[in-house]
Subunit: 256 residues, 2 copies
């Protein structure tokens, strides 16, 4: 397919590479940052456009891969007649694209992307929605060409999936960052914790996380919990998070 | 070495297997649950003892691998003259073993163990402490025989490591459980999130978690955060956790 991409961040970069590898052609790239647009365009042999209104409508798909809070700005400058227009956001309703094209859809890859790290695209679930069966089918075809896990779901279910992803990925990564912060203060190496993180994630690849919960809270081991809280007493924010999550675990598993 | 183990839970089971594989001999096993003691003893060809006071003192190490809050009960029944006695707890001070033997130490494997899943012991950091250089050296020797990552640290640093581990593993796993809970309610498959969890953990194996944080909070994307909070409004506990962690991320990354 011939695809143009709006955006040049993590998602845009990974998608452009995956599409190119799958044999598609990236035609044009627009980004708020002309420098980043030029870099990405160079890598995938596309051209850049200066203005969104100058985007060539003669492509199969125009994909909006910008931060969620920038989508509104993009579409206010974008008028396509019937070129398939899709966004890549987990939390944004399909309907926000109404008025920008007759054919609108969503192409949401459920993964955490950092420019510094490549990912195996074939394993990434891609969630599809369209304002017509034809649009959904076309986007599914594109998704199938880069991933083995493609599913059509509506905007509400996609939102719930995005919230779940925030808990499982963004918040989990933040806990890793807090863990490192604690180690740094004691001059202990984060490498001591890395195998534990790897094993924690590996364990839930085949198990239900509820079944493999370990630690003092799930045992309601108040003595250890109190020692930890005492240790955290000069770090009130960490203590607050520790208390809330421990109590929540006790409640969650305490139910008969 | 000839080793006796007190306990028959996750840690005891994994340690007994690792020691046996490394060529050591498990001599005796005692557990509050005679059935579990018998099962573990059968697997590693050890014998069980009925009473702690009946434990044979003629071994190289007696290892206490019970829940933190059961250590006190165990040592009140345990009197050894000079047999090396060590516990395996992250949060328990070495000193609690004083009076139970002249030679006391700590042998703390930093990992999350579930009976249902085997682990690659060689990658697990083991933290050692002893009440004398001889004890520390002897336990280090034992640890070196099963792991490539052995470190001597004192009780205070070990406590900080345990707290870090609770954040990075126990709390992270709980977030995975909450994520699954949200998906279950929408009849969405947890398999959709599993690749994301794997990638999130994989990313911090080489990167500083602080550098690879993604999601709405680190961008301070209030529009998306509000959508998520609205979505969680009938789940007050999840909403509370969402708000606290999002605000904490905003504070953490907002600092100049």
């Amino acid at each position: 397919m011939r695809i143009s991409i709006i955006g040049s961040g993590n998602v845009a970069t990974h998608l452009a590479a995956a599409f190119t590898n799958a044999g598609h052609r990236i035609v044009e790239i627009w980004s708020r940052s002309p420098e980043n647009a030029a870099i990405l365009a160079y890598h995938v042999r596309a051209t850049t456009v200066d203005k969104l209104s100058g985007l060539n409508p003669d492509v199969d798909v125009v994909l909006i891969a910008v931060k969620d809070d920038a989508i509104q700005d993009v579409i206010s400058d974008l008028k396509l007649k019937d070129t398939l227009l899709a966004h890549t956001s987990g939390s944004t309703d399909l309907q926000v694209l109404m008025g920008s094209s007759e054919n609108i859809g969503v192409f949401y890859p459920l993964q955490t992307f950092s420019k510094s790290k490549s990912v195996e695209f074939a394993n990434i679930p891609i969630l599809i929605e369209g304002n017509s069966p034809v649009v959904a089918e076309r986007l599914t075809e594109l998704a199938d060409s880069v991933s083995a896990h493609v599913l059509q779901i509506n905007s509400h279910k996609r939102l719930s999936l995005h919230v779940s992803a925030v808990f499982a990925s963004n918040f989990a990564n933040y806990l890793f960052a807090l863990s490192k912060e604690l180690l740094d203060r004691q001059e202990l190496d984060f490498n001591l914790i890395r195998p534990l993180i790897a094993e924690t994630a590996d364990k839930v690849q085949r198990n239900d996380p509820k079944e493999v919960q370990t630690g003092p809270a799930v045992r309601n081991d108040q003595e250890t919990i109190q020692k930890h809280i005492e240790f955290l007493q000069d770090k009130p924010e960490l203590e607050h998070i520790y208390r809330l999550l421990s109590q929540s675990i006790i409640n969650f598993y305490g139910k008969p």
